[in-house]
């Protein structure tokens, strides 16, 4: 039986407190009015002098290019319509209002990215677990409790996401521009994309679907775990078979829910843009992160002596999965990117403009290096995959890379070109990391770390590569 060490508990609570302070600071310092924005931009120009002005010019240029490329599209954001109309009359009030919304989005974005990141890690850990169950895997039963523990965050993580989405739906923030757009051609906030999309992208439907997604995940986690515990108590193979059936059904239902979840929660942030591959790309990103987290938790628990049955071959296998799915992620990312970038259709290529050539370039290229080049070089050698500290190092880089990946998915559509990586972002990341550690390690204490009645447990214990 695992006991949550008081040092780790203190550590996670400290992370939560520091993170909460950082989040609070983000909301406190966000500009409240257009005047704040003007003052902020004025200060920036004063302190940076010529370079800032030059920078602003480049920004303007970039946004103009985007406007030209999007052509008939009436802007990314409803206020951008005003902006486009206003600038023709030589009035830039609309521009300031737009900048204000983006600046106000910053603390929300800072929360949104790690919130989604850790929830999907937890959900994908359940998927990984279900795959082991559905495949009747013989190597992994000694790791089952670790996987079950990592899924522990699904409940609270889902509730936080739901609360956030309700806040968005009540116009508490401007994260989803389509919530401010209208399909009515005569309305001031008319958006051509909404004419064809508002049957799906509407606020009631959005919230109902969100509830459906999280109830699927929470429900299946509940039943799969309950079965696993019952099997351990009774030793009855009936529960093993039922776990198999549940896992198979979950995998199918999950893939459908994930498909639409990624459309709703991530792709609709840039609601003029679309990509059929997107959901699988999000899944690949989160799946490799989930396997990495499972590997890190396993290595941590083993180093504390709680998992004596786990040998180097188990770590080796997890590292192989990390390696394989890093490449799988790259494949999907590239398939999406290359087709859209070189097909050169305006409403598709504009999505990549700020990311590849605009302000997000360092993050975009950086996360590619962290998620592909680094894993492929570090984890290629068979022997390195058996060295725990090496796997930890690679895992931390992969996790950072995929956090940046989610950041680059979200931020260009919400905070626009003026992204920063400061106290609000780090605070939110620490907050959710702390919460994740706290909840996951708490749920690890709920059951013995070795499932004793699994028919494959012997095979798993003697597993040797």
């Amino acid at each position: 039986m695992y006991t949550f060490s008081s040092r780790l508990k203190t550590f996670s609570l400290v992370l939560i407190i520091i993170g909460a302070l950082g989040i609070g600071y983000g909301f406190f310092t966000a500009p409240k009015t257009v005047d704040d924005v003007k003052a902020m931009m004025h200060d920036a120009e004063d302190s940076h002098g010529a370079t800032a002005a030059e920078h602003a010019e480049v920004d303007d240029h970039a946004s103009k290019v985007v406007h030209e490329v999007t052509g008939a599209i009436k802007g990314e954001h409803t206020t951008e319509n005003d902006h486009a109309a206003a600038s023709e009359h030589g009035d830039d009030a609309g521009h300031y209002e737009h900048v204000l919304m983006q600046a106000q989005n910053r603390p929300w974005t800072a929360i949104y990215v790690p919130m989604i990141f850790f929830l999907l890690i937890s959900v994908c850990a359940l998927v990984y677990y279900a795959i082991q169950r559905a495949a009747s895997a013989g190597w992994s039963p000694v790791l089952f409790r670790v996987m079950e523990g990592v899924t522990g965050y699904i409940g609270i993580g889902s509730l936080i996401v739901l609360a956030f989405l309700v806040a968005s739906a009540m116009h508490g923030n401007h994260m989803f521009a389509w919530m401010y757009a209208s399909a009515d051609p005569t309305a001031a906030n008319f958006d051509f994309a909404m004419e064809t999309k508002d049957w799906w992208l509407n606020i009631p439907g959005f919230l109902i679907r969100a509830v459906i997604y999280v109830s699927i995940w929470i429900g299946f986690r509940h039943f799969i775990l309950k079965n696993s515990r019952l099997q351990d108590e009774s030793g009855d193979l009936k529960y093993f078979k039922r776990s198999f059936n549940l896992s198979v059904v979950f995998l199918v239902v999950f893939l459908v829910s994930e498909l639409f979840m990624a459309f709703d929660w991530l792709m609709s942030i840039d609601h003029h843009w679309f990509s059929q591959l997107y959901s699988f790309y999000v899944f690949a990103s989160m799946f490799v992160s989930a396997i990495t987290v499972i590997a890190l938790v396993t290595i941590y628990l083993r180093s504390r002596g709680f998992l004596p049955q786990v040998n180097d071959s188990h770590i080796h296998d997890l590292a192989k999965y990390m390696f394989a799915f890093s490449i799988f992620w790259t494949y999907l990312w590239y398939a999406q990117f290359m087709l859209q970038w070189y097909a050169n259709i305006p409403e598709e290529a504009t999505y990549f403009y700020p990311r590849l050539l605009g302000e997000y370039q360092p993050l975009f290229i950086g996360m590619l290096i962290m998620n592909f080049v680094f894993p492929i070089l570090v984890l290629m050698n068979s022997d390195y995959k058996r060295i725990p500290w090496f796997v930890v190092l690679a895992g931390l880089i992969i996790l950072t890379g995929h956090y940046l990946d989610v950041f680059v998915m979200v931020a260009p559509g919400t905070v626009g070109s003026h992204w920063h990586f400061g106290i609000p972002e780090i605070g939110a990341l620490l907050f959710f990391a702390g919460l994740f550690i706290f909840v996951v390690f708490n749920s690890l204490t709920k059951a013995p770390l070795l499932p004793k009645e699994n028919p494959f447990i012997k095979e798993s214990k003697v597993f040797h590569y």
Binding site: Y334, M338, W341, Y342, A343, N344
Partner: protein, 174 residues
């Protein structure tokens, strides 16, 4: 030093694997084992060091990647500059994403083909090479272990009989 070898014939891979372990435990030198199919774990049991082919695969892959970069830069940027995807930048770095499929394929191509050729060279399988298999039955259903003799012929034969060899013969090493 004597150039004699002992050939022991087995008809089961598990028996063979145990025999290999016993012969090695008795500190006799196994020259070679001939089998009709790959026997899992035999290389470890014989104490053969791990293959270095994987390292060569990586090096060949890097060679292919380097070649493809030179190749694409030459044909698409330098020799006949092209407008790729409506983005005429004429810079290798900016057009690089469009070349990734070719770079990938060339990496795989170089790695795979050169690895096969390396394997053939290393295994001494080249054109007009005749088989150096001592007993044709090992291409069908028998396993043959070749043990070097170093003045202890009788001891080895006794040991091999104990391990379940079907047929034992002493041959001059050609």
């Amino acid at each position: 030093m004597s150039s004699k070898v002992i050939h022991a014939l087995y008809d089961d891979d598990d028996v063979l694997l145990n025999a290999v372990k016993e012969v090695r435990a008795a500190h006799h030198h196994i020259d070679e084992v001939y089998t009709p199919f790959p026997v899992h774990g035999l290389d470890k049991a014989m104490g053969i060091p791990p293959t270095r082919l994987a390292i060569m695969a990586f090096i060949f892959g890097v060679m292919g990647l380097a070649f493809s970069i030179w190749f694409l830069n030459n044909i698409m940027i330098v020799d006949w500059p092209q407008n790729i995807g409506g983005k005429p930048s004429f810079s290798f770095l900016e057009n690089m994403p469009a070349f990734v499929p070719v770079m990938f394929e060339m990496t795989v191509f170089f790695s795979a083909h050169l690895m096969v050729i390396t394997f053939y060279m290393r295994s001494k399988i080249w054109p007009f090479q005749t088989a150096d298999n001592p007993d044709p039955r090992t291409t069908d259903d028998k396993f043959l272990m070749e043990v070097a003799v170093d003045g202890n012929e009788d001891a080895i034969i006794a040991l091999l009989e104990k391990t379940g060899a079907e047929e034992i013969s002493v041959k001059e090493k050609h």
